[in-house]
């Protein structure tokens, strides 16, 4: 496969141009449900990063073996396998982290972003490109989760990373799941606005 993009471009693509949460609007359930604190966002982000990278590489390596008619079941199987492996390894070797991350790791099987990346990218491109793409998507997801988590934790519990910074709870509403949609919506608007401004400036320079 012709290498159209550099690895850095693939990485940046996942974080900015095709950010899973703010641009592709995928995996909104976890983004809304779990991002109540910054540390939750980081934990889920790390877990997704690992699963995404491992699954992308696996599918990319096996793409010639997978029958096109059964690719979706195969993706699900691959993701489930990696999630289980990561879940068991964490429980065995990092009990401290697992105590906090355990429930998040198990639900990754159902994440749309991972299946979508396998379908759109990994099953067509070679292994190293898939690795960078998976890394970029995972990091993009993590950035999204951390940003949403930051806003919600600050406004909902007046804290950042569990440390009380405001000394009071401004709006308990932000802890509730419905508030996640507001934060995601505002963030999307913000990202699109930045892109619009950036594109307009680029046009001006050209003229």
């Amino acid at each position: 496969m012709a290498n159209e993009y550099s690895s850095f471009q693939l990485l940046a693509n996942g974080i900015l141009k095709e950010n899973p949460i703010f641009k592709l609007a995928l995996s909104m359930c976890p983004a809304v449900g779990i991002s109540t604190t910054v540390s939750n966002g980081v934990m889920l982000g790390i877990a997704v990063l690992f699963v995404q990278v491992f699954s992308s590489v696996t599918i990319s390596a096996l793409k010639n073996f997978i029958h096109p008619r059964i690719r979706i079941p195969t993706y699900t199987l691959t993701i489930a396998t990696w999630v289980t492996v990561i879940d068991l390894s964490l429980a065995a070797f990092f009990p401290g982290a697992y105590a906090k991350m355990g429930i998040f790791v198990k639900i990754i099987v159902a994440f749309a972003i991972i299946t979508m990346r396998l379908e759109m990218f990994a099953c067509k491109e070679d292994v190293s490109d898939s690795f960078w793409d998976g890394l970029g998507m995972g990091l993009g997801f993590m950035v999204g989760m951390v940003v949403i988590g930051f806003v919600r934790e600050l406004l909902g519990s007046g804290a950042v990373f569990g440390y009380d910074v405001l000394g009071f709870k401004p709006l308990l509403f932000f802890i509730l799941p419905s508030a996640g949609f507001f934060v995601v919506g505002l963030m999307m608007a913000f990202f699109n606005w930045i892109e619009a401004v950036y594109a307009a400036r680029k046009r001006e320079v050209k003229q």
């Binding site: 029958h67 059964i70 396998t81 068991l88 065995a92």
Partner: protein, 299 residues
């Protein structure tokens, strides 16, 4: 047709590979996982009793595990307790005492099982089945640790679970010999973060600390704001003596429900109430039976 066969073959192969990978990981990690869980439980046990790695349990103390079973024999249910036998030097194995539902003694049988293996439910079930004879349905119910210091009872450690807002809440708690609560620890739960998950915070679970049995028996949740000085005392923001003084004032009060999580709060206080009440009732019967039958137990 050949398409179907290829698909079947490839999908089966993928499943087999995935299964092998998962199985291998399980084999490699299971032992470490169990050891971690056990280590965590032990740590909670020590911290509930007020000990830690720097402040280890004194030699004179003994921890004895009692396992409760429900036995069904030809439609007749009875309760069985697996208690350590002898004077407590962990050498004489266990005794399985059976008590009927009215609290009358039925029989007791020696069970041969080592003190390491008794923690494994499968090994334990097999040993008990061998001791009481086949054809009976035995079901593990719960286990309690009885803590003694130079022969007299110091505390009971109960572990149990009850339904929370979404799934079960697993807790471990320590009671003193008069069944007053010494401490409470939430082991596992899946309550909503920021709302029900606050049950694991000190300012909620320490509300149970030092509540006498009489209060626990009828404890409810109160929908009232938590007084700030009580919050500070439970979170350890004031020095220890002042905290004890403040907590004494609230000793006979109900539990202050968490904001936005009344169901989780009520679940925990109902769970603690029923666990304590049932335990007190059962232990009284077991103690009476042990005394009447003059069974040799270390506690």
């Amino acid at each position: 047709m050949s398409n179907i066969l290829t698909i079947i073959f490839r999908l089966t192969l993928s499943c087999l590979i995935a299964g092998t990978v998962m199985g291998t990981t399980f084999v490699f990690t299971n032992k470490a996982k169990k050891a971690n869980e056990h280590a965590r439980e032990e740590k909670v046990v020590y911290s509930l009793l007020g000990y830690s790695a720097e402040n280890p349990i004194p030699e004179s103390m003994g921890l004895y595990e009692v396992f409760r079973y429900v036995i069904t024999d030809a439609g007749q249910s009875s309760i069985g307790y697996l208690v350590p036998a002898g004077a407590g030097d962990h050498s004489e194995g266990f005794t399985f005492v059976r008590i009927d539902l009215e609290g009358k003694y039925m029989d007791s049988n020696p069970v041969t099982i080592s003190h390491e293996k008794v923690r494994e439910q499968k090994d334990r079930d097999v040993a008990i089945a061998a001791a009481i004879g086949g054809g009976k349905d035995i079901r593990f119910a719960d286990h309690t640790i009885i803590v003694t210091d130079s022969g007299s009872r110091l505390a009971y450690l109960l572990s149990g679970k009850f339904p929370g807002f979404k799934t079960s809440i697993h807790i471990m708690m320590a009671l003193d010999p008069t069944y007053s609560v010494l401490g409470l620890e939430i082991m596992e739960h899946e309550e909503d973060p920021g709302l029900g998950a606050e049950i694991e915070q000190d300012y909620f679970k320490n509300q149970f600390k030092h509540k006498p049995f009489e209060t626990i028996k009828s404890i409810e949740v109160a929908k009232a704001p938590l007084p700030p000085e009580y919050f500070d005392a439970m979170e350890g923001k004031v020095d220890e003596e002042a905290a004890i003084e403040v907590m004494k004032q609230y000793r006979d009060q109900d539990i202050y429900a968490l904001t936005g999580a009344t169901i989780s709060s009520a679940a925990v206080s109902n769970g603690v109430r029923s666990m304590t009440k049932k335990f007190a009732y059962r232990l009284d019967i077991l103690d009476r039976v042990i005394k009447e039958q003059q069974l040799q137990v270390p506690f």
